[in-house]
Amino acid sequence: MSQRVTHAMILLIGILLGLPLGYLRAQKSVGGGSKINSQWVALSQYESLALLQYEQSDLPHARQALLDVLKFLDETEASNRVGEQKSIDGDRGLMYMRLALLEQKADNSGLSQDYIRKARASFEKCDGKRYSDEDLHKLMTKLDSSPSHSAKK
């Protein structure tokens, strides 16, 4: 009888020791991925709505949508929901570049240059590379020549 109790006690101690180990292991292997997934799904949806506005609507609506995404990115960081900082910085750079192009078309060259500077800083933070104005414009032309963009024509 006492031997059974001893075995049960050992089993219980094993369970109690294994429980936090399993929890911590899952936190390490799954936790980061889950945060990245949530960030990716939320951001991509938020951005895709704003990009439709950028591609299809008039200047004030397009501008408002892009500025709003920048605010959303800031809030995502402030509320500690960032799964992958690089993608936040990269997305921020892209939004600034689109704003720069919008302002360029609206003949606000000063503001456009300001956005280009901010875009460069964001891309630099993202991957550590230094981008020239030409590189940035090439990148935007490539991104904005997607089939959905041409669908409006």
């Binding site: 050992i10 219980l12 094993g14 397009a62 669908a151």
Partner: protein
Amino acid sequence: MRTWATRAVCAGIGLALGFAVGYALYLLGTVSHSPALAEVHPQGDGFSLVFEGAARLGADELVAADSGRDDENLLSNEDEAIRAIEAGAKPAGLTPPVEIARARLAIRRAIRAERNHDAVVQAESAGQAERLLQSAGWSDTSAAHLRAIIILSDQQGRGARTPGGEPK
């Protein structure tokens, strides 16, 4: 000797059981709190509502694009997610273009109505989408235009998520 072996086996089984339960507990907690999988928690602060709503809407759109599903259950989930975004946007100081999400939802309803030969719902949904696009400042506010964008976007999404199926 045998006693020690039995004790070691008990300890091993206990550790393995505990490990599995701990791992499962964490997974359960993650799933129930994942904004992309769980219900949107309406008691959250403004930004939480927007974030969770966007994640939920994104997950539903992935399902709609990948499976071609447009049943009422899925569209109601989208509607609920849009409401969460709307409810949280003002307190969070955000102005997301929810009218575009609403217009897209209306077009998905119109497509389903067309398939079901329900001309009334189809016309109503298409009309709703056009009014929303007008208020969103679109240059082409026709339902056909947004429908073309949605179909293209679904195809692109499917292509990008299929191995070797990068959209052309």
